[in-house]
C-alpha cells in the first residue's frame, strides 16, 4: 500500500494536468457522497416568492422558476449523474472485457460472432439506440444505465480483443500452460491484468461519455423525471429561460456537466500510469 501511495505521488508530480484531474475527481466524488448534507437548501423545496432570482450571496447560482436554489440542486445532482455513469461503465467494462478477451484469445468462431455482434451495435447511431432501448424497456433510471452500458460495450470489447490477441502467444502464457493452467485461468490471471492499462484509458474516456449520455437522455425527457435534480433536466428546464435573460438556470448545471466530462477525459493517462506496473520503479 505504501508502495502504491509513493507511486501515486510520483504520477501526480510528473504531470500537473493529472493532478488537477484527480483533484477535480476528488471534489466530484466528495459532492456525490456528501452532497445532501452540504447543500445549503433543500433542492426540492419551492419558494413562490423567490422565483428566477439572479445569483446573489444567498443563492450563488440563483433560483429557478419554482424558487428552488440552483446551487443546491447542482450539488445534489452529482450523486445521481455519477451513479448512473459509474454503474453503466462498470457494466460495460465487465461484459465488454469478458467478451473481448474471449474473442481475442480463442479467435475463430468466438471472435467472428462477438465481432459481428459489436459491429451491429455500432452500426446504429448510438444515442438513437439508447433512446430506443429506454423507450422499449420503460422509462426508468435502471434502464438508462442498461442503455448506456449497451452502447458503450463494443468499445471495451474491441480494445480488449486487440490487446488480448497481441498477448495470446506471449511467453508467459505458454509458461502458464506448462504450469497446468486452463484457458480460463490463463485469461483471468495472466492476460486480463496485462490489458488493464489500455482499458483504464477507455474507462476514463467512457465515464465522460456516459455522463453526457445520461444527461442527454434526461434532457430529452427520458429517464430521470422532475422534480429530481439532475444536470441534464436542469439544462433542459433552464434552456427555455435563456431567451428571456435568465441564463443562470442552464449555465451552472451545464458547467458542472462540462467540468465532470473534462475531468474524466484528463484522467485517462493518469489512471493508465497508476495501474501499469512498468511505470513503477
Amino acid at each position: 500500500m505504501a508502495r502504491f501511495l509513493r507511486h501515486f505521488r510520483h504520477v501526480m508530480a510528473e504531470n500537473p494536468v493529472t493532478a488537477v484531474a484527480f483533484a477535480l475527481l476528488g471534489l466530484i466524488v466528495f459532492l456525490a457522497l456528501f452532497g445532501p448534507w452540504i447543500a445549503p437548501y433543500d433542492p426540492l423545496a419551492t419558494e413562490a416568492t423567490k422565483t428566477l432570482r439572479p445569483p446573489t450571496w444567498a443563492h450563488p447560482f440563483g433560483t429557478d422558476h419554482l424558487g428552488r436554489d440552483v446551487f443546491s440542486r447542482v450539488i445534489v445532482a452529482t450523486r445521481l449523474d455519477l451513479g448512473i455513469a459509474i454503474s453503466a461503465v462498470a457494466l460495460s467494462f465487465a461484459a465488454g472485457s469478458a467478451l473481448g478477451c474471449s474473442a481475442g484469445f480463442w479467435g475463430g468462431w468466438t471472435d467472428r460472432i462477438i465481432g459481428r455482434l459489436s459491429d451491429t451495435i455500432m452500426a446504429f447511431p448510438l444515442f438513437v439506440l439508447a433512446m430506443g432501448i429506454v423507450s422499449a424497456l420503460g422509462n426508468s433510471i435502471e434502464n438508462i444505465v442498461y442503455a448506456t452500458a449497451i452502447i458503450n460495450l463494443p468499445f471495451y470489447a474491441r480494445v480488449a480483443r486487440a490487446e488480448t490477441s497481441v498477448r495470446r502467444n506471449a511467453g508467459y502464457v505458454a509458461a502458464a500452460r506448462l504450469c497446468g493452467a486452463s484457458d480460463t485461468r490463463i485469461l483471468s490471471t495472466q492476460v486480463f491484468p496485462n490489458i488493464l492499462p489500455p482499458m483504464m484509458v477507455q474507462v476514463s474516456l467512457n465515464m465522460g461519455w456516459a455522463i453526457l449520455n445520461a444527461a442527454g437522455l434526461s434532457f430529452i425527457g427520458l429517464g430521470v423525471r422532475p422534480p429530481d435534480a439532475e444536470w441534464g433536466i436542469m439544462v433542459a428546464e433552464g434552456a427555455t429561460y435563456i431567451v428571456s435573460g435568465e441564463w443562470w438556470l442552464a449555465l451552472f448545471p451545464g458547467a458542472a456537466l462540462m467540468l465532470a466530462v473534462f475531468c474524466f477525459n484528463l484522467l485517462g493517462d493518469g489512471l493508465r500510469d497508476l495501474v501499469d506496473p512498468l511505470r513503477r520503479t
Binding site: A175, R177, G180, N194
Partner: protein, 571 residues
C-alpha cells in the same frame, strides 16, 4: 597514426536526464577511425556502444546531452553542430545501419522508393534517372531480381533481404563512413555471414571507413581491423585485432574473450577470469568432468513426428478454386524421429524456420502433432490433447525454459509469484509458508538473491530474469527440461554463467535436457549429442564434437563455417 583520422571522438561524455536524476552514459570516450579502416566497438548491453554512435551522428534525442568532449568528422565538429548541417551530413557522408532492419524501414512504402528518397534528398539523382540508380543499388547488394523487389514492401521480404535494402540505402549516396549498429542481430548465422561479407566487400571497394558495433567478439575478430572494448560507458581497451586477442591487457577484455564459446572451449573455461558478476552470483562450482554417455534407458522417444499448418495463401479457400492438398498445408516438422536417454542432453540445432521450435513445442505438449507419437517415460503422451495434458500428473515431468526471459515472465507478477505459480498449480501446494520456503530454496539453487524475489520483471537484469525462468521450470522437479535458446537474449558473460548453472542443475537433479539453439558452439558445451535440422527434417545426428568438427552433410558444414569465431592461434 600518421594520417589524419576520418572520425575522431575525444573525451566525450554524455548524460541522460531520467526520473532518478542524471545518468552518465558515456565517460571520457575517445576513439578514432582512420580512412578505410574498420573499427569494431565491442561491449555488452549498457556499455554505451550505441550511445557513442548516436552521439556521433546526432540522433541522441531530447533526454541525452553531450556534456563534455567533442566528435570531429574530417575536421568538422559534430557535437554542437546545427541540426541542418547534420542532416546534410547524414546519409551523404555518414550513414548508419540499424539493429532491426524491418523496423528501420518504412512499412508502407515500397523499398525501391525508399532508396530513391535518400538519393533525391541528397541530390544524388534527378527524377529522370533515380529509378535506374535505385535499381543499380539493389543489384549491388545482390538482391535477386531487383526489378521485382523494387516494388516490394518490407513485410514481403525476409530479415536478411531487409538488411540488404538498408545497406543499399546507406550506401546509395557513397558516404565515406558507415556505422553499423549490430547489423545482424536476429538473423540466422548463414544470413549473418552473407550480410557481413556483403558489407565488407562493398565498403572495401569504395575505401569506406566502417564502425561496426557488436556484442559478438567472434564477428569483430572476423571483420574488423581494430577493436575498441567498452564497459559501463568507458573505453577500457583499444588495440588491433591481433593484439587484442593474443595479448588482452584489461581484465574485462580477458573476461569477455574467455566467456565467448569457441569451437574448442570447455564449460569451465568460460568464467575462468573472475569478475564482479551481476548481483550475488554463487561461487562457480567446480565443473565436474563430463560424465560418460549415460547408459540409462530411453526417457523420450519421438517417432515419425509430423506437424502441418494450414497455409493462408493456398488456393482452394473458395469453392470455385481447385484444391491442391499438397499446397494447402505447410509441413513444419517432417517425419522426425529421435530418442533421448535418462540424464542425457540433446542439442537441436538449425536456422529459423527449420522446425526445431515446433518440435520442442510438441514435445512439451503445448502443441498437438498432425501425426506421430511422443513416448515419454514409457507412456504415449500424444494420446492426450494438449489441453487435456495440462491437467495430467505427467505435466510436471516435462518443463521448459523460454527463449526470451523478458517475454516469458508476466509483467504484473513479481519473481516470487512467477515461481509460485507451478508450485500451486502442479504440486497443489497452498500454505504460504511452505511455498515461501520452497521458493527461497529454489532461489538459492539458481543463484538468485532472495531480496530480488519481490521485484517485477522489468526491475531485473536479463541474467536475473533468466534465473527466475529456470527456477520456475525446475520448481516441480521435472524429469526433462526443454531449453529453447535460453541464452540467446543474454550477454556473453551472463550466458557463460547461465550455461554453467544449467550444467550444475542437470548433475544435481539428474534431469535430461533438450537444448534448442542456433549456435553450435553453445550447444556443444552442454550436450553430448546433437541433431541438426533443416526444413523440418533431420539432416544429421551425432555426438557434438563429431558434428562440429567433422560434419558429414554439406548443410551442417555451411552452418558450422558461418559461425564467426576467433582462434588466437590463427590470427
Amino acid at each position: 597514426m600518421t594520417t589524419q583520422p576520418l572520425l575522431s571522438v575525444d573525451a566525450l561524455s554524455v548524460q541522460f536526464r531520467t526520473r532518478e536524476g542524471t545518468v552518465t552514459a558515456l565517460q571520457d570516450v575517445s576513439l578514432r577511425v582512420g580512412k578505410g579502416e574498420v573499427l569494431g566497438i565491442v561491449g555488452e548491453s549498457g556499455s554505451g556502444k550505441s550511445v557513442t554512435a548516436y552521439t556521433v551522428i546526432g540522433l541522441l534525442g531530447e533526454a541525452g546531452r553531450a556534456v563534455n568532449g567533442a566528435a570531429t568528422y574530417d575536421g568538422l565538429a559534430l557535437t554542437g553542430a546545427a541540426e541542418k548541417d547534420l542532416r546534410d551530413l547524414r546519409g551523404r557522408e555518414i550513414s548508419m545501419i540499424f539493429q532491426n532492419p524491418r523496423a528501420a524501414l518504412n512499412p508502407i512504402r515500397p523499398v525501391g522508393r525508399q532508396i530513391e528518397d535518400v538519393l533525391l534528398r541528397h541530390a544524388q539523382a534527378s527524377r529522370m534517372n533515380v529509378r535506374d540508380k535505385a535499381l543499380a543499388m539493389l543489384e549491388k547488394v545482390r538482391i535477386v531480381d531487383p526489378e521485382l523487389r523494387y516494388g516490394s514492401y518490407p513485410f514481403e521480404l525476409s530479415g536478411g533481404m531487409c538488411q540488404r535494402v538498408m545497406i543499399a540505402m546507406a550506401l546509395a549516396c557513397d558516404p565515406r563512413l558507415l556505422i553499423a549498429d549490430e547489423p545482424t542481430t536476429g538473423l540466422d548465422v548463414t544470413t549473418q555471414k552473407a550480410t557481413m561479407d556483403l558489407i565488407r566487400d562493398l565498403t572495401r571497394e569504395r575505401h569506406m571507413s566502417v564502425v561496426l558495433i557488436t556484442h559478438d567478439l567472434g564477428m569483430a575478430a572476423a571483420y574488423c581491423d581494430r577493436i575498441v572494448v567498452m564497459q559501463k560507458g568507458r573505453v577500457v581497451e583499444s588495440a588491433s585485432v591481433r593484439d587484442l586477442f593474443v595479448n588482452p591487457t584489461h581484465p574485462y577484455t580477458k573476461k569477455l574473450i574467455a566467456a565467448s564459446p569457441g569451437p574448442h572451449s570447455e564449460l569451465a573455461d568460460l568464467t575462468a577470469v573472475p569478475d564482479e558478476l551481476e548481483g550475488a552470483a554463487p561461487p562457480a562450482a567446480p565443473v565436474a568432468p563430463p560424465i560418460p554417455a549415460p547408459a540409462g534407458d530411453d526417457l523420450l522417444e519421438v517417432i515419425d513426428l509430423v506437424k502441418e499448418f494450414p497455409r493462408q495463401d493456398a488456393p482452394g479457400r473458395w469453392p470455385w478454386q481447385k484444391r491442391d492438398p499438397e499446397k494447402a498445408v505447410f509441413r513444419a516438422v517432417d517425419h522426425v524421429s529421435f530418442s533421448l536417454k535418462r540424464g542425457e542432453s540433446l542439442g537441436l540445432v538449425g536456422e529459423s524456420g527449420c522446425g526445431k521450435s515446433t518440435t520442442s513445442s510438441i514435445i512439451t505438449r503445448l502443441l498437438d502433432p498432425t501425426a506421430g507419437d511422443v513416448i515419454f517415460a514409457g507412456e504415449n503422451v500424444t494420446s492426450f490433447s494438449a489441453a487435456a495434458f495440462a491437467r495430467l500428473p505427467q505435466r510436471r515431468k516435462i518443463q521448459m525454459v523460454f527463449q526470451d526471459p523478458h517475454d516469458s515472465l508476466n509483467p504484473r507478477f513479481t519473481a516470487r509469484d512467477c515461481i509460485a505459480e507451478p508450485l500451486r498449480r502442479l504440486l497443489g501446494m497452498s500454505g504460504g509458508r511452505e511455498i515461501g520456503a520452497r521458493i527461497d530454496e529454489l532461489a538459492d539453487r539458481v543463484g538468485l538473491p532472495r531480496d530480488l524475489l519481490t521485484r517485477f520483471p522489468h526491475q531485473l537484469s536479463g541474467g536475473q530474469k533468466a534465473r527466475v525462468g529456470i527456477a520456475r521450470a525446475i520448481a516441480v522437479d521435472p524429469l526433462m527440461l526443454v531449453l529453447d535458446e535460453p541464452t540467446s537474449a543474454l550477454d556473453v558473460s551472463v550466458q557463460a554463467v547461465v550455461l554453467q548453472l544449467l550444467d550444475r542443475l542437470k548433475r544435481e537433479m539428474g534431469m535430461s535436457y533438450i537444448f534448442v539453439s542456433h549456435d553450435l558452439n553453445v550447444v556443444r558445451l552442454l550436450c553430448e549429442r546433437v541433431i541438426v535440422m533443416n526444413r523440418g527434417r533431420i539432416v544429421e545426428t551425432g555426438t557434438a564434437d563429431e558434428v562440429l568438427n567433422n560434419p558429414r552433410e554439406a548443410y551442417t558444414r555451411t552452418l558450422v563455417q558461418a559461425i564467426p569465431h576467433f582462434e588466437p592461434g590463427r590470427l
